[in-house]
Amino acid sequence: MKKWLNPRSAFGISLIAIALIALPFVAAMGGQAWVRIVNFAILYVFLALGLNIVVGFAGLLDLGYIAFYAVGAYAYALLASPHFGLHLPFWVILPIGALLACVFGVLLGSPTLKLRGDYLAIVTLGFGEIVRIFMNNLNAPVNITNGPQGITLIDPVAFGDFKFSGTTQIFGFALSGPQKYYYLLVVLSILVIIINLRLQNSRIGRAWQAIREDEIAAKAVGINTRNVKLLAFAMGASFGGVAGGVFAAMQGFVSPESFSLIESVMILAMVVLGGMGHIPGVILGAVLLSVLPEVLRYGVGPLQMAVFGKMLVDPESLRMLVFGLALVLVMRFKPAGLWPSPERKRELTGEA
């Protein structure tokens, strides 16, 4: 079982580890904004791997994933901000957020998971919208969410006196807030990668794959398909909740705007474009789709100014256009994603 620890793998892992440790310092050379971009890329890796359990492993098309992220974020925001005057520590809230998202997942999933896949897509999409509508409007007559203005001054993550906001001196290094969050995110992402890997090669993981392959045969061998799907759905939701909590703490601010449908589609696209069910593919998808838009944002405007001397196309809409086209083209020419697992590729393209 320890075969991955051969010298070559050990060398590879050390290289990756060094790169991961050094990355925030390299990014900081371009300014803290780039550290934040890297942080968001990792947050998306976390989210995409959470959704991968639902979409990639269990084959359930969830278009409302962002709603669970929103639940986690708002749970954190309400329990650690001046809005209600509550300031619970983050290690208390994070599990609460995860549990709450999980409960929402079960509530939504239990009636709908017996349905055909595309119905599930629509129902989850509708759920995402319901959550957003409530966040937008639950500011009157009792102010719970503070409506479209959102909630501000959210507490940063803190372990005792060690706060993740502001700059700290550690071993002679000055670590900025975003850099500290970076390491927290990396640790969380490594955890979710390990969980993904372990689930994939487990009794439950096999049951998910069996359902994806042939649901009737899966039932016939005694798999309670509804419960097993619900498990995937609830797990995905919990990861969404955790990510939401970290997001709220890191930003210090949440508003309904961050949880629109397009975010759900974006995370789904990361999973699908990268390679459903294939962990390295999903990571690639998340990094590509979260960093490329930033590059477009900083690249397209100046480029147009340089070439045409004026702004012809709004970079934001061009970014979305490229994104939509990418979805269509990848589905057409690489339906198994950019970096599919060998087995999924066969499944989707029919190659032996």
Partner: protein, 253 residues
């Protein structure tokens, strides 16, 4: 008197106006190989699907091993000890042969998400046992050398065997085979017959739906004949073979 394992009580099922099953009652005894035959469209597979919970009967029901079977819950049928194969083989095509059988162990094992996440000793032991048992079963149906091949790349005969191994992995009391010999040549049928004999000898009761009358008559202890959704006769092969109604049903009136 032999002990009854499965009792069907006036099972009825219709699709729109078509009566696929008309109050079929029959009983399968522990330890026997029970054959269910009949012309195409006689309702054999419908009967199977009602019994294994894929269809909900419109009337009547089943008693299995002393307690009623709950309709509309295929996974519970497997849990109670009814395993099946499908007429048009339904394997998990993109999983390996070994993984297919490992999935069959699902219903007899317990590890959940937490076990998978923390990889505690119990989970690891169970996983090893699942793998071992699956390997043994592949051996039992003699396709152990195909263990790491994808199920869909197996030959037709091997796929049939794999499906039986997967069904056996659920530790069934009753193994239901839906036309296992369909599409097999004489040698393969002979090997299948040996396999079924072996499974029976190991103490599993078998329900066999089959077109190959010779195979059924040679293998089964008792045979039931369905025609137009109704039970024509249930008796030992020697009697069934000579029954005028059966001959008519097969030759057509």
């Amino acid at each position: 008197m032999a002990e009854v394992l499965l009792q069907a009580n006036q099972v009825a099922k219709h699709f729109g106006g078509v009566k696929a099953l008309r109050d079929v009652s029959l009983s399968i005894n522990k330890g026997e190989v029970y054959g269910l035959i009949g012309p195409n469209g006689a309702g054999k597979t419908t009967f199977f699907n009602c019994m294994t919970g894929l269809y909900v009967p419109d009337g009547g029901g089943f008693t299995f091993d002393g307690a009623p079977l709950i309709a509309d819950a295929p996974h519970q049928a497997a849990e109670r000890g009814i395993a099946r194969t499908f007429q048009n083989i339904r394997l998990f095509g993109n999983m390996t042969a070994l993984e297919n059988v490992m999935v069959g162990r699902h219903v007899r094992t317990r590890a959940g998400v937490l076990g998978a996440m923390f990889q505690n000793a119990a989970t690891r032991a169970e996983e090893a046992a699942i793998r071992q048992r699956a390997t043994d079963l592949l051996h039992y149906v003699r396709i152990e050398d195909r263990a790491d091949d994808l199920a869909k790349n197996l030959s037709y005969g091997d796929q049939r065997r794999l499906e039986i191994a997967r069904a056996l992995a659920t530790e069934p009391k009753l193994l239901c085979l839906d036309e296992p010999a369909a599409g097999m040549n004489a040698t393969e049928t002979e090997e299948l017959r040996d396999l079924i004999e072996g499974i029976r000898a190991d103490g599993t009761t078998i329900l066999l739906i089959e077109h190959d009358v010779k195979l059924v008559m040679g293998l089964c202890d008792r045979v039931a004949v369905l025609d137009y959704g109704a039970l024509v006769i249930e008796d030992v092969p020697a009697v069934v073979q000579k029954d005028q109604r059966v001959i008519e049903a097969y030759l057509g009136a």
